[in-house]
């Protein structure tokens, strides 16, 4: 993580200043509380949360972001808003990045940088497929029943991120955009 600022500088040197940042990298971490250890949740936190904050910190530096308008999007999760068994570490890491994005939004507004997060529901990704492989048939059917339009595609989330990066979202900052096919409205 200490290399993130110099990596961004190298990118700027080659391609010019940045005006957008998306932190989509993340790991899932299903583990019941009784088995949870500090090392385990710190690993989850490191990638899902800390890396995002270090990236944002490097991004707002004037060597990286030249203005006048920028947009940062963190990929959070509906697990930052609702709970699930055996998901303490993951929920915590996603809740933290969503909360951080609100305060970051206020701090970076004077620089013209907007900060928002997107909270996807169940989207067919490698993370989802790993979780799915651990479910019983009933669990799988219960999850699918909550998604009348099917399990999401990566595109569905990518479209929301692209919207938040665009000038169509110029007055949007400090918000969470839930993209979940109505999952948490149930």
């Amino acid at each position: 993580m200490v290399e993130i600022p110099s990596l961004l500088e190298a990118i700027v040197l080659e391609f010019g200043p940045l005006d957008g940042l998306v932190h989509a990298a993340g790991i899932s971490a299903t583990l019941p509380l009784r088995a949870l250890t500090p090392d385990f949740w710190r690993d989850v936190f490191l990638l899902n949360t800390e890396a995002g904050i270090v990236l944002a910190k490097a991004f707002q530096n004037k060597k990286i972001y030249a203005g006048p308008r920028g947009s940062i999007v963190f990929v959070s999760s509906v697990m930052s808003l609702v709970g699930e068994k055996a998901n303490v570490a993951y929920s915590m890491s996603k809740g933290a990045i969503t909360s951080a994005s609100r305060s970051m939004a206020l701090e970076l507004a004077p620089k013209g940088i907007r900060v928002n997060s997107v909270a996807p529901g169940f989207v067919r990704t490698p993370i989802y497929e790993r979780a799915e492989s651990l479910w019983t048939l009933e669990q799988k059917e219960a999850v699918e029943a909550m998604h009348p339009l099917g399990i999401g595609k990566s595109d569905d989330v990518a479209n929301a991120i692209a919207f938040l990066l665009s000038d169509a979202a110029l007055w949007i900052t400090g918000t969470v955009m839930v993209v979940d096919c109505g999952y948490i409205a149930h």
Partner: protein
């Protein structure tokens, strides 16, 4: 068979966010413009792209008991059906709690919430609109989630709208998506009385990290939610407020 089944109905199209949205959507969509003032609706229509293709449905939404009848007759007479519905109509009277009357409450609820629900009911009826409705967006307010002095009646109406939206979204899936957009303070005809105080500009700068909003700032989110890019988004509310509701700085 109806002539065209791909109309977008916009209530409150005679001014503010509704008018701005109509102008933006008119480029690629056929619109039904609703409001109570025909002269101002005609102004909106003339400001639209392809002005002659859009149709005006003049109706005063305070009269909730005849909405379904009026809309049904209108759709049959025009031989058109509706695929998208945006409820922008809204009224805001600042009334302290001690002064609120039964009548105040009914008026604000009728325009801000009940009319939206009655139009939705009408548009999901098979005999009226077949199964053409695909997407609903309600323009709510951050007052649905946060309080302000004198806003109790208005907040209640917007809270009702958002709660209704969540259950309607669950019930109408997968055919119809429903979402709401929660603007912060946007300067429009509805809110201008809030913003003519000398100290207001200073307060706006302090409260709104991205500065005060214009109707055009709300349009992007509504357009996104109506589009197929949001095909997996339903039952949610989306805040568009320049950072206002994330801001508790003093």
């Amino acid at each position: 068979m109806p002539n065209n089944v791909d109309f977008c109905l916009i209530t409150g199209a005679s001014s503010g966010i509704g008018r701005e949205l109509a102008i933006s959507l008119s480029k690629d969509n056929l619109l039904i413009l609703n409001g109570r003032n025909v002269v101002r609706l005609e102004e909106t229509k003339q400001a639209c792209h392809n002005a002659q293709e859009h149709i005006i449905w003049p109706y005063d939404l305070t009269n909730v008991s005849n909405i379904d009848k009026s809309l049904e007759e209108f759709l049959f007479k025009q031989e058109i059906r509706v695929s998208r519905f945006v409820h922008c109509a809204g009224i805001l009277d600042i009334i302290p709690v001690r002064m609120i009357t039964n009548e105040n409450l009914l008026t604000v609820l009728n325009v801000n919430f009940i009319s939206a629900a009655m139009i939705t009911t009408c548009l999901v009826k098979k005999k009226v609109n077949e199964h053409f409705l695909k997407s609903i967006v309600f323009v709510s307010s951050i007052a649905s989630e946060f309080g302000a002095k004198g806003f109790a009646a208005y907040s209640a109406s917007k809270g009702a709208l958002d709660s209704y939206m969540r259950s309607a979204a669950v019930e109408l899936a997968p055919r119809v998506r429903a979402n709401s957009v929660l603007p912060g303070g946007v300067v429009t005809k509805m809110t201008e009385k809030l913003y003519n105080d000398d100290q207001i500009p200073e307060r706006l700068v302090k409260d709104y990290p991205l500065g005060s909003g214009q109707p055009s700032d709300i349009v992007g989110m509504v357009q996104f939610l109506l589009s197929d890019k949001a095909r997996w988004i339903t039952g949610q509310h989306f805040v568009v407020d320049g950072g206002r509701s994330a801001n508790i700085s003093v």
